[in-house]
Amino acid sequence: MQLELIGITILWTFLYGYLIVASIDFGAGFFSYYSLLTRQEHIINGVINRYLSPVWEVTNVFLVFFFVGIVGFFPDTAYYYGTALLLPGGIALLLLSIRGSFYAFANYGARKSRTYLFLYGMTGLFIPASLSTVLTISEGGFIEKRGEEVHFLPWELLTSPYSWAVVLLAIVSVLFISASFLTYYAFKAGDKKAMEVLRTYALSWSGPTILSSLFVFAALSQHNMQHFENMFGLAWMFLLSLVCFLGAIILIWRRRALGWSFVLVMLQFAFAFYGYGISHMPYLLYPYVTVQSALTHSTMGWALVISFIAGLLLLIPSLFLLMRLFLFSAKYVRGEPK
């Protein structure tokens, strides 16, 4: 396999990993605060906190990994995206900082604070919105090159229907992924009440998810015809994604095999996300940067691939240990002391 394909596959996979774990995390923060407002806090917060506490820091690493990796494999992206994303990227960073630190203040600090939970919950919705602008910008049309200087066109971004469709999709997907995971987690914990609340969340966010993905298709066909045609060529992936979605909804509806239903949700997003990614190729930033043009020198590229494999050998057993201790330990999930 060619180096640039290995590189982009690794990165895309990490971004997908971030999409799943961060969605669970962002959504959980929002539900946590929402339940406080609707006075259902005592029902679902135990489940949410038992999941989040040991893993919140790990979630963050997926994102760091992606942006360090993309600059490593494709240094030219730093130049274009770095200049263009100063404002949206800076704001995303600001929100991530607020969210991460206030999670710790609220959960390890001395007392529960409504303000901390509010900041933690609300930033969880704005972060996916600001991060998703990266995907929008990658479609082209929001960056202009004049001579050697790269200019970002914020007004175009703010008025683009495509951009808003992506933001909408990002937010509702976060809520849907999170609710369907937490339904499963509450089910494992044997917490019927929490499961029922979370199940309604999952079902009510399922419709908006599908609708907004249709919006994205429509808006993309207006914005970047070439990419849209590429996607059309990969229609089977998007159809499989839809099938997985329907399967997941049926299982959640019937309160059956909730573990499998979450696997189907993951597959639904995997098919859509990889379908989108493959049809995006070879551009990293349309039309300026392609995977070939931005690739780092091959010595560095291979060094990165080797260190990636070495890193995985370290990470996979540790992640496995983490999951055994907290995710798949029935006792821990139920909140029983040993």
Binding site: S53, P54, V64, V71, Y79, G100, A104, Y332
Partner: protein, 442 residues
Amino acid sequence: MDPATLSRILTAETLAFHIIWATIGVGVPIFICIAEGWGIYKKDPHYILMARRWTRGFVITVAVGVVTGTSIGLMLSLLWPQFMQLVGHLISLPLFLETFAFFFEAIFLGIYLYTWDRFKKPVYHWLTSIPIIIGSSLSAVFITTVNAFMNTPAGFEMTKEGELTNLRPLEAMFNPAAPSKIAHVLSSAYVTCAFLLAAIAAYHLLKGKRNVYFKKAIKLTMVSGLVMALLTAVAGDLSGKFLAEHVPEKLAAAEWHFETQKEAPLILGGYLDENQEVQGAIKIPFALSILGKGHPNAEITGLNEFPEDERPPLYIHYLFDGMVAIGTYLILISALFLILLWRKKKAAWNPWILRGILIGAPLSFAAIEMGWIYAEVGRQPWIIRGIMKVEHAATTADHVGVLLFLFSLLYIALAVIATSVLIRLFRNNSPEQELEERGIIL
């Protein structure tokens, strides 16, 4: 102000804020591990409680360290896109590896926090602290090699068009500056945390608390503190020798050493008059030659050998002096405490000694800041020494000012809130109460 200046301010501010938490993140796990291990070994619940309490505070500081670290990581590309475009080909390996180390640490921190009572044998829980130390120290190592690369770039050749060719990533990572920098960064982080934790206990003893818990905490941290402080001095000496050989203008600017000469003196304090003459300073003959080359007769390159637009600002002299003075103080106070403790037990707990230990904590953080500013400003005007100047690396985008404003607010808020959360966390729950709750009576 132009984007380059604003970018410099924002980067400096973020780093200055980050290194406070990062230092705690690198150093404190060592002491948590020592305390828990010693407690298990000696079957002394005081030390186990110490590890628990330190861990609780540590989590809050780690959170701030993680978010500011993420910020600086992304800001590298946002504020210095041309820098990352040029050297991304060369330094992405250590950056990438740092993420792995961070990942490793994050996983085991989660495990450590939530498994205090889950294992049958306490030693299993203690074992999970080892990967935290490995992860946090290794991420410091990797990120320091990146900074070292900016001081002494290596592992490539440059074509006439300014492209990098013939890349040797490992050589770039283990560049000449890396060993002495890594040694100095790690040892100074450990010594700073030793004093931070000792100062907390000293504060309580000064407040009139008598529990033996606090005395044990000071003994443990001061023994390790003295060792680390001595190691830091050795690492500092190595750095001096490294600078004299590889980055002479930085050493020369720090020492106001203008003319190349043998038997060079070391200058403490003083000021420069309008003729660039050193006034009112203490001169220690031969000391700079010894610091730089290990021989009183050795020749030290002066600042005048460098073109004027490639000289770092001269105020870094004070930062250098401050850092060295504090380092010396830390060695003296911890040594004094241990000698007193060894000779006649009571005198070691004299309030003046305790005050001396207490003040060691803010001083050592000040030294960390001064050392960093010295190292970074001493590289000016280069972002990569000899290759790229700072103004050519900065973003051309507008709005840097907006971000500077927002991030300044964020850092102020984080500093205030994190401190008050930490204070409240410990004030409402004293070690005495906890000892009683856990039924520990010795």
